[in-house]
């Protein structure tokens, strides 16, 4: 499959994931985050959260399907080695905390090209909805750059 505008509107598989406290601790360790509210439930509550909140960019991690972390690349039919991250945006509506059940919906919102088609840009739109309250918690937009796309074998 070629990366082209026929991908616009494609929905990736929906899923509901639980925000796991242990994953937030590993993530905090990876980015060197040591502030108490991000790793300690008691300090999180003292700071006004129901549990440790996710870091500002963690919605992007929730957008990684735990059952198939690279399903987005499969959907593009593009070689992982040819894909770079161009830009990333988040809009926050309410906190997401450890223990929350989040429904993740992802779709391809746009595809365009530059440099005579040697660079393709794929815009993924994602929503994180709290599955218990049905309230939208975060919306994210991710633009990937596919270099010299070629049909897969």
């Amino acid at each position: 499959m070629m990366v082209d505008r026929s991908l616009i509107g494609l929905q990736l598989r929906k899923y509901v994931c639980v925000v796991e406290a242990f994953q937030l601790r590993l993530f905090a360790k990876a980015i060197g985050e040591t502030r108490g509210c991000y790793v300690d439930p008691a300090q999180a509550v003292a700071a006004g959260f129901r549990a440790p909140p996710i870091a500002p960019i963690f919605p992007a991690c929730l957008g990684t399907n735990p059952d198939d972390p690279l399903d987005w690349a499969t959907a593009l039919g593009a070689d992982l080695a040819s894909i770079l991250h161009g830009s990333q945006e988040f809009e926050y509506f309410e906190p997401i905390c450890a223990g929350d059940r989040i429904r993740v919906e992802r779709r391809i919102a746009d595809v365009y090209e530059k440099k005579g088609g040697t660079l393709k840009f794929v815009v993924f739109s994602m929503e994180c909805v709290n599955d218990d309250t049905q309230r939208l918690a975060c919306r994210a937009t991710q633009t990937l750059v596919v270099r010299n796309p070629a049909p897969t074998q």
Partner: protein, 147 residues
Amino acid sequence: MTSPTQMSAGTLADLTPGSALPSLDFPPLSRTTLALYAGGSGDHNPLHIDTDFARERAGMPDVIGHGMLTMAYLGRYLTKFVPQRSLRKFGVRFQAVSHVGDAITCTGTIVKVSREEGRTWVELDVTAHRGSPDAEVLASGRAVAVL
């Protein structure tokens, strides 16, 4: 979210557009950090953790850092000044790839302070550099917070 180094929201709102925020230095990117980030984030793309893949499949001399790790550092930087629950928007454009050994420095500038419906809105520009604040830009973007 209190920390001795965190500016109070009032302090931030008192700053005028163009004011620079104190920069923040991160330790050099190590392969361990990239491996931990792959696990913590769930991003298992081998481009970031498998040197053989980076060389043989992507034609790169070595693995590259996750762009989102750079953005995570910018997120840590932002939340030094703005409580996380005040953040409304945060976006960046990635301008260069990070490499093992890069010591990322984050800088920030107040772009706009406004009052609407009794609340103070702040827009900040944030930038991650490869090394010192005058070094190459890895990612830059903007955040909006309501204090």
